[in-house]
Amino acid sequence: MPLIKKIVWLLLPIFCLVVSLPAADAAMVLKTMEENTMGANAPRDMETDMVMTIQDGKNVRVREIHAWSRNIAEKDDLRVLKFIAPADVKDVGFLVLDQDSMYIYLPEFHRTRRIASSSKKDPFMGSDFSYEDMGTSAFSKYYDPRMFKESDGEWQLELLRKPGADKPYARIVLTVSKANTMPVRMELYDESGRLGKVAEETAQQVGKYWIMASIKMTHVKKGTSTLLEMRNIKVDLGLKDEIFSERFLKKRGS
């Protein structure tokens, strides 16, 4: 075997190893982050008040929500949102069982309706969050991560949608804090590769957990933004199964 061939064969595995190293790091960062947000290091359940502030030019609209969520290992979170204010949406309820099972309760019509798959990209309550954004799911299930940049305090990952994954964003640039391995910023790119939205997130320590205390979603094209702030966060309450049901969704004033 000529010397050159020998060298090539020798270098090839080393090259593959080198190339695959950043991917392994990226996957590790993403996995750790998901452990913190929805995995073993996240609270088992949570009850919180939310204030949603929608800024559209000079117009500011404020929604008050009460939310319950439950963390289930290896699955999507369960989540219930109930609107408290303004008056015309009081008692409107939103239940997320998984990404394909979302329900909305309309108290004025005494009806519960399932959100059609085609509507998941629609704005949630006139905000810059879509119905899908309001649900939760693991990125690693639908996206392939790649280390994009690394600085002293942050990792920046590029998440590329897996073939066949039913997700609205083709590419996400995710910035993760090295201090607590929690997301701090997400750039969400659409099918055509254009930057559609930017989410800026702030984590807060509640007991032994790091919790996302605020998310500001900016719609780049429309120039609008929505700030979702969590208040009175309570964790590990042992919430009952009944809360995450259509029956509870109908219950007023809960």
Binding site: G57, D88, P107, F109, R113, M125, G253
Partner: protein
Amino acid sequence: MAMIVSLALVPALASFIDFARMQREREGHSLAKVLSRWSDFVIRHRRLLLGLSLGLTICFVFALTLLQREVSFAKFYPLSSLPRRSMEAANAHFDGAYPLVVSIETDRVRSPESLRVLRRLQNYMYSLPGTSQPFAITDFIQELNWQLNDRYAVPDRDAAIGNLWFFIEGRDELNQLLTDEGREAVIFAKISSPLTAFNRKLYQGIQLFLDKELRDGYVSYRRQDMRPEQQQELYAAQASSLSQEIDWLAQRYVPGRASRAAIERIMAEGSSRELPFPGVRARTRAVLWEYISAPDFEFELSLPQKESYMASLMAALEKGAGAEELKAFMPRWLPAGVYDAQVAGDLAETLRYKVDEVNQQSRVDALWLRLEQLFASSDMNFEKKARSVLYDLTAGIVVLPSGVSTLSTGKKLPITRIDQTGYPLMLSKMDHFLLRSLLQSILLCYVLTLVLMTLMRRSLTLGLISTLPVIFTSVVMFGVLALIGVPLDYATMMIGGVSIGVGIDYAIHFIHGYIGERDAGHSADEAIRRAFLDKGKAILTNAVSVMAGFAVLLLSSLVPLRNFAWAMVCSMFLAALAALTQLPAALLVFNPKKKK
């Protein structure tokens, strides 16, 4: 510039020409012979020619009433051109290519009252000829209500609209229908004809309607605040107002048989609460059982328990139980340990809501069964929209145009503006400005010409006579356009001013020659004869040259320019004709004297 050339360059060049020799040659020229015979003819038949020309002018004045105006750019292009073909295709296959927008301003468009006004205006627009698919925020609301609650109607409570709004808030489409602060909304429709006359009539019709609606305003009533006899009166008034909306819709979808009076009669009968609604009990039972038997029913009960609960519920409802009574019965109907007062309260309200919903739906069904007999044909969209109107008879609020009801318990709606914009308005205004500009320019031309000629000749009679050819030319020209159906547009409207400008030249030349000959001591007949020979050739040569110049525009691909070209050719011909017949005849008949 033309004047400077005429006064400086032309005389300088003329100094090189032997006019005496030319005069001798000219007298023997064939055109001179024609002009000589022409002048003799005019001298002999002066009164006949003047009478004929004035008679012709008067006749064509009547023809002017037939003159069409066309300001639509669509008609500028030939039928075979790409823009025209695209527009025709849009009109033929997509219900029109031209926008019509009606806008409304109020304190809050999203209120059930304002949305009812918006729906009324929208339904009115369905009745307009050549207008299709008026679209407004009401369509979103009603369609959502249809998808979520099987009811194509505007809800009668703010909170109910708020619940539906939940699904559309933040959507980009809303920005096209409603302002951010929610005070203004628009109804979009499309117009299928670009013709000015059609759009002018449409604009005037809409404006008349909108002016009346805004002037009268609207009043809203809350049914629950009224005594039974007031409610009956309100139903009658509502039947009158809503029948108008159904009539508008019928004109669009099922034109023909039904009269508004017949629609109103049925609606007035149907407004009565005593009208029988067949099958309402079975329907109520089915709806309630579907709810109670569902797995997410408020209380966890076995099937026999649910059946027993259902039987008790139906018995109570047949006795007319309201939400409070239903709640009161719950502890007796529910097994021990299951009852929860708050849940029972919610459930009682839900059940009562569902029963009311069935009743309302049944009333609308019963009314519709009677109404649909009136129409010669059926149409799914008509039924959907007509039902939306009928649901108002079951709603908790009533919105009526002022004056429809004499009840004083209503509240005036704060609607500050209703107006229209779009193609009909744009064309109507352009048409108005075109007509005004034309009349102003022609009138100003006549007046200035008259004043200048009077001052120059120091004779009002001469001033009046000199304007006769231009009046004849413009009246006959526009009369011809009217008779052959060529509309007045941006190009042809210029014919008036241009033909006056050119025509007056001929009159000035001829009168100048005539006065000169008269000053030289010739008789009127001889002065006319000499003026013919001296100025006639120049007038004819000028007319032919100008006609040839404008004829070049006949090759234009724009229709108005082609119309302008041939109209100008005719106009120059008429101006020369008038200057060499009507004008000398008038000079001979009136024999004006220039003041010394």
